[in-house]
């Protein structure tokens, strides 16, 4: 009798197994894979729908854009390890440089192929503080006050964190008459106030906003505005520091991958649309600074404040230099950061 029950159990299992195995998606359709960084989730959700519509209007074909989000450095690592990205839209040029160098799947001068350093939108680094700014944080100098806890992601894996780091460095440099040693000491002091390093910008935002850790979040401007929108304007304030950095998140086609999957045309159209009216409008709407503001809605563009911004190329000698100097093995970040 026991055996019959057992046989029945086995039969049930045998019936369920092939059913569930047969069900997964097997339909063919042109798909385009965009491997992106952490805070662009909402941006590309909206943009992908717009692109699918425009592609359908132009070619009559259905297209599906699949995305993957994560810390920019981690995403680059995945593409290097074989993640089949048609386009990469990462947080900074150094991560796409890394893909080009490690795989040769796109040329070393990829950044010259599209206007504005291949960045269809820019952003900067601002502070998100709790409503009413209880710790009185006005500028970078206030971040190293004794009772202040700072939330920022890990510069090794996150692109936003590297912009944060360099913006802090730029402040330290300016406050000390251009002295890099003193700037380094300031950044070292700042990281003593960081209790936890998440792998990506979105992880840090949820740590700060949802889990309630820390007094100030060093955030992408777009991420800070989005937090106000998602969690309510009565929860947080945005503080604009005296100086920050022009963050240029670049986009690129991964040549070897699009040629293999025959998606070059779609990938090119995808990036082109980012620079066109649709892309610029959606970027501005999602709090990214469009490189052609006249193409976006004026009301969206007018939300952005004018800030004093340093640039990666002029002030840090470009990403090639900044990446190895600050974030490579034994770079300044390794020298100053000791987990506490």
């Amino acid at each position: 009798m026991h055996r019959r029950t057992f046989t029945r159990a086995l039969t049930a299992l045998a019936l369920v197994v092939p059913l569930s195995a047969a069900a997964p998606t097997a339909f063919a359709q042109t798909t385009l894979t965009n491997v992106s960084y952490d805070p662009t989730r909402e941006l590309y959700k909206e943009f992908n729908a717009a692109f699918a519509k425009s592609w359908k209007a132009e070619t009559g074909e259905d297209i599906r854009v699949q995305v993957s989000h994560g810390g920019s450095g981690k995403q680059a690592r995945s593409v290097i390890d074989g993640l089949n990205a048609d386009v990469v839209t990462l947080a900074l040029a150094a991560d796409i440089d890394a893909i080009a160098k490690a795989t040769g799947k796109l040329p070393a001068d990829w950044q010259k192929r599209l206007p504005h350093n291949s960045s269809p939108y820019t952003s900067t680094i601002v502070f998100l503080v709790r409503k009413g700014n209880p710790k009185g944080i006005k500028d970078w100098g206030d971040l190293v006050k004794a009772d202040v806890q700072v939330i920022t992601p890990n510069p090794k894996t996150s692109g936003g964190a590297r912009w944060n780091y360099l913006a802090a460095w730029a402040y330290g440099r300016e406050a000390n008459g251009g002295d890099d040693a003193k700037a380094k000491a300031f950044v070292a002091e700042l990281f003593k106030h960081v209790p936890v390093l998440d792998t990506g910008a979105r992880g840090s935002t949820t740590t700060f906003a949802q889990r309630g850790l820390g007094d100030v979040l060093l955030a992408w401007e777009n991420e800070a505005y989005l937090s106000l929108k998602e969690f309510g304007e009565d929860k947080f304030d945005i503080v604009f520091p005296s100086i920050s950095i022009l963050a240029e998140p670049p986009v690129a086609i991964v040549d070897a991958n699009v040629d293999k999957s025959g998606t070059r045309k779609a990938a090119e159209a995808y990036l082109k649309l980012l620079y066109a009216k649709e892309g610029q409008t959606i970027a501005a709407k999602n709090f990214y600074r469009p490189v052609s503001p006249d193409l976006a809605e004026k009301a969206d563009v007018d939300r952005f404040q004018k800030l004093k911004l340093v640039t990666i190329d002029k002030d840090f000698g470009g990403w090639g230099k900044a990446q190895s100097e600050h974030f490579g093995d034994g770079g300044t970040f390794d020298q100053i950061y000791k987990p506490n």
């Binding site: 057992f6 197994v17 569930s20 989000h69 994560g70 993640l83 949802q210 998602e230 969690f231």
Partner: protein, 295 residues
């Protein structure tokens, strides 16, 4: 001098029905309270929290959370991965435990240690190993690319990682039971003229069937719930390589908290069902599970 038998009796014989423990009632109550508080804090509260968050905006919002094709493809993918990994583990587990329990050979203890390896290796490390082996920059990367096979960041990678972390579950259930049962029944079957397969199907397998189901159950729960190893090899392509646990993380990071907890409640539900079936098996077929499972 013979001892006085009365001296060996307790001064106050335990009355019939009284507790055999001697601790004061206060100590017992304190211990029970601590144990219950611990259980409530670490098991019951989180479970309630999952469902409370999932239903925070009402039942409609809960069901609306499943109106997302990416979530459904995550569910199908998880079922598919388990449907491949679990049967393979049944075969491997049966073969391994049969070899270990019924035969003597050199290197047996090494084999047992190897079977336990996934318990002691961090799942993230196992995922990394597969990336090292099969990633584009890995040892077999060039060959795999030249033949156009994608393992990492695709379903085969997810299956491999899942098989690795669930490997011990079936074998661990079967080995002690088979060892306990010994080889006498098999010897009897062989001496009556049955062949190897016949002996296996008619004697060995029926003897361990409930333990096998028990192992399958645990194996399946782990296969569907695994996060670390699959996270490393997934690539997180939405609607493509995200299993249910990964989808929960994505929804949470998309500020989609209700949906995140709604999907998490699926996993919690799976856990509860597993628990119930597991308890039923333990209660009904205790004598046919390994002695460690009896109570």
């Amino acid at each position: 001098m013979p001892a006085d038998p009365r001296q060996t009796l307790p001064a106050h014989p335990v009355a019939a029905g009284a507790s055999p423990t001697t601790e004061p009632i206060a100590v017992r109550l304190a211990l029970i309270t601590v144990a219950l508080a611990f259980l409530a804090l670490f098991l019951v509260l989180p479970l309630i929290a999952v469902f409370a968050e999932a239903f925070r905006n009402g039942v409609d919002a809960y069901f609306a959370s499943f109106d997302d094709p990416d979530t459904w493809s995550a569910v199908w993918l998880t079922l598919g991965v388990a449907a491949i990994a679990v049967p393979l583990n049944v075969v491997f587990g049966l073969a391994a435990s049969w070899a270990v329990a019924k035969h003597e050979f050199r290197g047996k203890s090494l084999l047992v240690t190897l079977i336990d390896l996934p318990f002691s290796v961090s799942p993230v490390v196992s995922g990394m190993c597969y990336v090292l082996l099969f990633g584009a920059q890995g040892y077999f990367g060039h060959y795999l690319q030249s033949v156009g096979v994608q393992i990492i960041f695709a379903v085969p990678g997810l299956v491999l990682a899942t098989i690795f972390v669930t490997f011990p579950f079936v074998a661990r259930e079967l080995i002690p039971l088979m060892q306990e049962q010994g080889v006498s029944e098999e010897e009897a079957a062989l001496s009556l003229g049955a062949g190897g397969w016949r002996t296996f199907w008619s004697v060995t397998l029926p003897n361990v069937r409930w333990a096998l189901l028990y192992g399958v159950l645990l194996c399946n729960a782990r296969a569907m719930g695994e996060f670390g190893a699959v996270s490393v090899v997934s690539g997180h392509l939405r609607g493509q390589t995200n299993t249910v646990p990964l989808q929960v993380e994505i929804l949470y990071n998309d500020y989609n908290f209700v949906a995140a907890f709604a999907v998490a409640s699926l996993l919690a539900g799976l856990g509860l069902v597993t628990l119930v079936v597991k308890s039923a098996l333990e209660w009904r077929y205790a004598d046919q599970l390994a002695s460690g499972r009896r109570h």
